[in-house]
Amino acid sequence: MSRFPADSVGLVTPQRQAFTEPLPLACGKALAQYELVYETYGSLNRAADNAVLICHALSGHHHAAGYHSIEERKPGWWDACIGPGKAIDTNRFFVVSLNNLGGCHGSTGPSSIDPATGKAYGASFPVMTVEDWVNSQARLADVLGIGQWAAVVGGSLGGMQALQWAISYPERLRHCVAIATAPKLSAQNIAFNEVARQAIITDPDFHNGDYAAFGVIPKRGLMLARMVGHITYLSDDSMGEKFGRELRNDQLNYDFNSVEFQVESYLRYQGQEFSGRFDANTYLLMTKALDYFDPAAAHAGNLAKTFEQLQAQCLIMSFTTDWRFSPARSREIVDALLAARKPVSYLEIEAAQGHDAFLLPIPRYIDAFSSYMNRIEVSP
């Protein structure tokens, strides 16, 4: 009957929640009203103690698992980890996955209509921070009747949200799972983001962010931004293995116009595909949220002190070839948790795939992730 794999959550329908109470933001502005689009998998138990929140990364969205239609070829972005019998077992957990504010997949963002002007927000959409997102997610939890998450889980920028949850709402989660992430960006991380932003902003079609009014999109800039970003998601090893110095047509052309190496072709394809489905203003906003994330800044840079009020147990995982957020960055988090005397487990997973590893079904990773999640106590 079902055409979906047995361990898939199957067909899912996104839901939408409108909020009318203004949301104060770190930048000083407030969002007067907004909508969040989200999906849920599994069912909330009577005690409402089996809910797991999934936080997405830079280009992610609410569609984390399952399929939107029978025709959909690829499942949600974290289908490897969410489903019946998977690491985040939907037979046990009620999983909530949303599109963050400022996103371009249905939640209120730069391409939404600003009720104050009747036109798209465009460049006027406020810069969001990880803290703002967590506050908006807490309001969604309220609406869904979830007083305390069994776990808040995320990779990369999503891991930062999981950490921020544990800091901002210590009593509202029992477990925090932060994967392939960092307690703040390094100068190199920010530098890569700045290159991506410059690529977008200097695109003649950007029009200071109001490209929608001109009926264009800064496609070239967005493509370049994605190409740069994509390099940081892969490892030297995985790129070498995938493409090496392989040529598309077995010959060099001695010019600058042709796509010669396979890796060039791959990056262009990734960039082009991305620029057709992602909003440039959202990309800018997401990179800023990354740059600004630094919860220890409020405690004079002391991360252990930042974790002092934490009540959640933490699982931190990193991947050996991840150079965007290397294992050393995860160890900063672990060391601070140890210094704050909080329960924490840390795994450094041997994986060739670089930063992207957190999205992939790597046996040791999935096994440890499953073991950890399966130990989380929930009412029947």
């Binding site: 699982l315 160890r331 672990v334 060391d335 140890l338 210094a339 005397r341 329960p343 924490v344 487990s345 840390y346 795994l347 450094e348 041997e350 040791r364 096994d367 440890a368 073991s371 950890y372 130990r375």
Partner: protein, 198 residues
């Protein structure tokens, strides 16, 4: 649940609700026991993926970290007890690890095999070869045990570094204490369990 014999001895030296760091915690057996029975806040350090997975399954806080590289991320006096079972002979700098254990914890609990046990002496003395036994099954060129020592050696090191031996229990392979090992421990004891402090 019955605890491995040496761990049974060690657990008696751990105070309830204390903080314990277990270096080379294996599958987390000791920490799991201490969590369950003594409300201890424990962390284990381990590098073997399968053993780490086992710890996670048991709910033991485990950190993937090589204690032989550095323990600098652990603050001074941040634990009551630092435990290391059957690993002293396998680290590159046993003296540094010992110093670190006593920097991090108020006391250190260690177990290691005695290379001066009569069977080792006999093997080396008669055969003229590095001892290989059921208990130490490795060949000299392919062994994790790179720093064998004897009880006397260890106690010499403690004296040099002004480390006080609080308890010493000499046992055989099955971790049973025999009356005669109290007489000539360095000859008759196979494994020692030491509790030391500054």
């Amino acid at each position: 649940m019955s605890l491995r014999a040496d761990l049974e001895i060690i657990q008696q030296w751990i105070k309830p609700a204390s903080r314990v760091l277990d270096l080379g915690c294996g599958d987390g057996e000791l920490l799991h026991y201490l969590n369950q029975h003594k409300q201890v806040q424990g962390y284990g350090l381990e590098i073997d993926p399968d053993k780490i997975a086992h710890c996670v399954r048991q709910g033991v806080s485990v950190i993937e970290q090589n204690m032989d590289k550095s323990l600098d991320n652990f603050a001074d006096n941040s634990f009551d007890s630092v435990v290391m079972t059957q690993a002293l002979q396998a680290v590159h700098y046993p003296d540094r690890v010992l110093e670190d254990m006593l920097r991090i914890g108020r006391e250190a609990i260690l177990t290691f095999p005695n290379f001066a046990h009569w069977r080792c002496r006999l093997y080396l003395g008669l055969k003229g070869r590095m001892p290989v036994s059921e208990f130490m099954p490795y060949t000299w060129y392919n062994t994790p045990n790179i720093h064998f020592c004897t009880f006397k050696d260890f106690e010499d090191l403690c004296r040099q570094r002004s480390i006080k031996v609080l308890d010493r229990l000499v046992v055989d392979q099955t971790h049973q204490s025999r009356w005669f090992s109290g007489l000539w421990p360095n000859l008759l004891g196979e494994v020692a369990i030491y509790r030391v402090t500054r």
